[in-house]
């Protein structure tokens, strides 16, 4: 505890929020509502109110269970179709019951939510178990404006890299300005990670989720959970990054055969792993490529192309989607009748282990939104969005609602955070060490190396020991390259990419080693070498923690004695 100003700019806050996306802005506003005396600071790599991968760059759809829905029926569906007994059934119930509170919170804050002429949330006949509603895509700007009004401070263009710790408590974070390299030290009583999941920069919309918070929490000693279920895919046109929601019902093989009946149930709320296994099988057996027939997409699929959203004229969503679709038509559209489609890797490695208040395993640390969606054990054996479109945005808000009281209470009661000069010095040295290499490997090439061993279906859809080990070989090699070869060439944006690569390398190792550990097939975790669901040995959560510099995997008992549904 001495003069830390000599290392860089110092900020102090009662509540530090890493990430100014949807979850970050909601928790910031909630904390100020709960206790206006608390000093809340958001640190964001881009600009708070514009950042985050999905809130203002997708359909703005929210999954909600309203007053008319039956929580038990929903839970039964969820256990069988989503979690395959790996979900925390209590967490799913809490989430379901809290989702309507989020709608009301938004409406209180002046954010319009789609309701029908009777004031009810939108409902789709084919999806009887939950409501699907939406907001307009200027939501982030509204939340930012509210946060400013509430006195929330914001530090933008700052990449937070490491968490500061004192014993088993998180007491802040350090990072740097990606525009000019200024080193920044944040001291905080409570620290909330809301910086998204790791998506390996593979697909456009998810491009900003680079695992920063997940990897930083892991390096600080926090427990991760369910990392093996980090393999969400969509279907998309080859060469184009547009996801075709519901595309599983519009697929043909090269012989002109309509393939969904071979691999899909008659009705599915969203993609299942079987359609991706089926696409690969068709190709392996010589009936590829897989082709997309647009006219089929509306036949069985109620949420295809956001069909229900057409009922609501939204100014910002209209502008956004009309612009994107016009560009697609002009520049990238595949004009062939039945163009080729491929699995689009999304990822969603958000494995920070949290309790029902979104509290991590380190004192003073919470994780919200995508950063903890798998780690909360909400998702079970299906990666986010858990076959519930719109659950990502809802989760961002629900997790913020759940965390609010415990963050506010902790921050109000905690003493001044202890930070250590030697830890800050070491972090600073390590963060800027790539700058010492004037030339070297471009971090983009390293990211591509990772994508090559994470995103193809043979690594993340149909796994085997042999291929996981192949992937881990490259991942191990990348640790060395990150340490000794990768160079930002004196550019701070590129230094940011060096850290993104480092974080993604950590996430890759945790993902693949957890996947190697789970020796069974369950939900989206498919092992070619262990093709059966093994309830005797694997009805438990796999956890990961950094111990003495090494990844240590353990398992955690699932409290079935408290649950309604048992295998």
């Amino acid at each position: 505890m001495s003069d830390i100003e000599k290392y860089g700019e110092v900020f102090t806050a009662d509540v530090l929020i890493l990430g100014g996306g949807l979850a970050g802005l909601i928790i910031a506003n909630r904390i100020k509502e709960l206790n206006n005396n608390l000093d809340v600071l958001i640190v964001e790599k881009a600009t708070t109110g514009y950042s985050g991968s999905k809130a203002n760059k997708g359909a703005g759809v929210m999954w909600v269970l309203d007053e008319t829905d039956d929580v038990d029926k929903f839970l039964e569906f969820y256990v069988n179709e989503v979690g395959h007994y790996l979900e925390d059934q209590e967490m799913v119930k809490i989430y379901a019951e809290t989702s309507l509170r989020l709608v009301k919170l938004f409406e209180n804050w002046g954010i319009d939510i789609m309701r029908d002429e009777n004031g009810k949330l939108s409902r789709i006949e084919e999806i009887p178990l939950w409501a699907l509603t939406a907001y307009d895509l200027d939501i982030m700007l509204k939340l930012r404006k509210l946060a400013k009004k509430n006195g929330v401070r914001m530090v933008n263009k700052t990449q937070s890299v490491e968490l500061l710790t004192s014993g088993d408590a998180v007491t802040g974070a350090v990072g740097f300005d990606i525009t000019n390299g200024t080193f920044r030290i944040f001291k905080s009583k409570a620290t909330v990670i809301a910086s998204g999941s790791c998506n390996w920069m593979a697909t456009n919309m998810w491009s900003s989720g680079r695992g920063d918070g997940v990897a930083a929490a892991y390096r600080a000693g926090a427990q991760l959970r369910n990392a093996e279920i980090s393999n969400f895919y969509n279907i998309g046109l080859r060469g184009n990054m547009s996801s075709i929601v519901g595309g599983q019902y519009a697929l043909y093989n090269d012989l002109g055969e309509y393939i969904p009946p071979k691999y899909c149930k008659e009705w599915e709320p969203d993609f299942d792993i079987n359609i991706f296994l089926g696409m690969e099988k068709e190709i392996m057996e010589g009936r590829g490529p897989i082709l997309f027939e647009e006219t089929e997409i509306f036949v069985k699929n109620p949420i295809a192309a956001g069909g229900f959203l057409f009922k609501w004229d939204r100014e910002w969503a209209g502008k956004f989607w009309n612009t994107l679709m016009a560009k697609e038509a002009k520049y990238t559209s595949d004009e062939r009748w039945r163009p080729e489609v491929v699995p689009l890797f999304i990822g969603e490695m958000g494995a920070i282990s949290v309790d029902y208040s979104m509290r991590g395993t380190l004192r003073g640390m919470w994780a919200l939104g995508d950063a903890s969606k798998s780690g909360s054990s909400f998702c079970g054996a299906t990666p986010p969005p858990c076959r519930l479109r719109g659950s990502g945005l809802t989760w961002a808000g629900v997790s913020a609602i759940l965390a609010g009281p415990s963050v506010a209470e902790y921050a109000a009661g905690a003493g001044d955070p202890t930070v250590y000069e030697d830890q800050i010095g070491e972090f600073k040295e390590a963060i800027f060490s790539p700058m010492k290499r004037k030339t070297g490997m471009n971090p983009r090439d390293g990211i591509r190396m990772l994508q090559e061993v994470i995103t193809p279906p043979r690594y993340s859809i149909r796994k085997s020991r042999e291929r996981i080990e192949e992937s881990l070989k490259v991942i191990n090699n990348l640790y060395g390259l990150v340490e000794n070869e990768v160079s930002p060439e004196e550019d701070y944006h590129m230094l940011g990419l060096c850290h993104d690569l480092r974080n993604m390398t950590y996430c890759s190792e945790i993902y693949m080693k957890s996947a190697l550990e789970r020796k069974e097939t369950r939900g989206w975790h498919v092992r070619e070498d262990f093709p059966e669901q093994d309830d005797h040995n694997w009805r438990k959560w796999i956890t990961a923690r950094l111990e003495s510099g090494k990844l240590k995997l353990s398992s955690e008992k699932i409290p079935f004695e408290n649950y309604k549904y048992n295998p």
Binding site: T47, G239, N240, E280, P289, F320, T332, V342
Partner: protein, 86 residues
């Protein structure tokens, strides 16, 4: 294969900084001397077009490139011979 293009019309640009703030992946940087945005890192562009939508002057345009370079989902060695030869 190629990199997405971000075109800025400096005749129209008034330097309001909205596109710079709107970019969530640091493609657009701010030239403090010229007081104008520069699309310095198009490699990271996710073609979300929020910069374009945010510009009150219509001075910025994102042109996506197709095909985007992603790892081949099914490498040719994985395809049956009949398909590869085709």
């Amino acid at each position: 294969m190629g990199i997405h293009k971000i075109l800025i019309d400096y005749e129209k640009c008034t330097g309001c900084k909205k596109c710079y703030r709107a970019c969530y992946v640091d493609v657009i940087v701010w030239d403090a001397e010229a007081k104008r945005p520069v699309a310095k890192y198009p490699e990271e562009c996710a073609t979300c077009s929020w910069c374009e939508l945010s510009c009150p002057e219509g001075a910025i345009q994102v042109i996506p490139v197709n095909p985007v370079s992603i790892p081949e989902p099914y490498p040719r060695s994985f395809y049956p011979k009949s398909y590869v030869e085709e």
